[in-house]
Amino acid sequence: MKVCDFCLSPVEVNYDYKALAGVLSHEKISEGPATMWRYRDLLPVEGKGEIDIGTGFTPLLKADNLGRELGLNELYIKNDCLNPTYSFKDRAVSVAVTKAREFGFDTVACASTGNLAASVAAHAAKANMKAYVFVPANVEPGKLVGVAIYKPNLVTVDGSYDDVNRLCAELAQRYNWGFININLRPYYAEGSKTLGFEVAEQLGWRPPECVVAPAASGLLFTRIWKGLQELSTLKLIGPVNTHMYLTQASGSSPIVHAFEAGSLHVHPVTPSTIVTSIAIGNPADGYYALMVARQSGGGASSATDEEAIEGMKLLAQTEGIFAEAAGGVVIAGVKKLAAAGAIKKDQLTVAFITGAGPRTQEIVSDVVHTFHVQPNLESFNEVLGVQV
């Protein structure tokens, strides 16, 4: 279940596409629930005992205001902030916890920068399972509350996210727990591809021409691609000619470095960025993400912390979406790619916003500028200069 005996690589889930082709249709999918589980035939679960807290089928919005700012006529935002625990992690965890229960685990666990911990804790609560979640001790206070509300065993670890990961990797060998992003990884990975399914369906069963998505380990990026490819294999959409662009924070951008160097070798770095949710110094799927970026005719782009914050503000102030800093990195990436002419003005482009901003709102606290008035009309008129 963990790694290939031969090469020690991660194992992958395979499907019988020939059999699925005779069963799946647009109609069958559209008759399913308005959640990610409408694609259950393309998810690696048995029976109907899924742990579903209402994840998926999040809005795909035409971003006309933002598009005008960036010079793009066909820009869409996939707003995955609107999942139950406010990030795309719910997609992955819903599948992984469902499999954990199928396998007979009574405890699930994960290493996390915050978002995954919240999702695992929420799904464990729904599944009546025990949860142990591990986060760096310096994780933002808002994220801790967002985890603790579901009452898991919340463990803070002195060290970086990579250090937490290493601890969990050792624990996974000692305890018979379902570690969501370690020994349940193949199933976790499959949940993410529903993002690709949804976007294609919401576009009227066609792939976008360009995708811009954040990359931490690189897994999500590769799974959006896999989702599109699977739909095409099953003839639910046409050929996929989508250009796949990944974005990282400059302070943790080993995949972008490799892309720019023309290499498929990702050299680990020590992250130094406020964009903690995608700050992985040693990305497990970096190689595969690079392959997708290259094969699709896409690319890679990084954004400084300042550019990420600017991107957060631009998205909020044009489209009304308060994303986490990783969303700011994506918007900064779209901006750069459009300015460089990599994304053309009329190309149908989807930017993936994968987590909500309120848990880490302190990083944009400088936006608060209030008008202070006394509770009377005179004061209001005096301060704001408005004539009633």
Binding site: C7, V11, R185, S277
Partner: protein
Amino acid sequence: MSKRQVMFTFPRKLIKEPIIYQLSHKFEVVTNIRRADVSEDRGWVVLELEGEDKEIDAGISWVKEEGVRVDPIVGDIVEG
């Protein structure tokens, strides 16, 4: 005897050093390379170590002291 699956990531200055050879000679550890990618300035090797736990632990500590990053392999961890 136990088996431990690990990934060594080498910095530029150690690319030409026979670290894995020395590991198997300094410690009672059998090294079994499964995957690798090494270029002029960087490289990683995924390998299995076999031996007594205390020998593997001591060997890994020595490799780290030499300046090699050591990560466990448990299906490759993904983002959190």
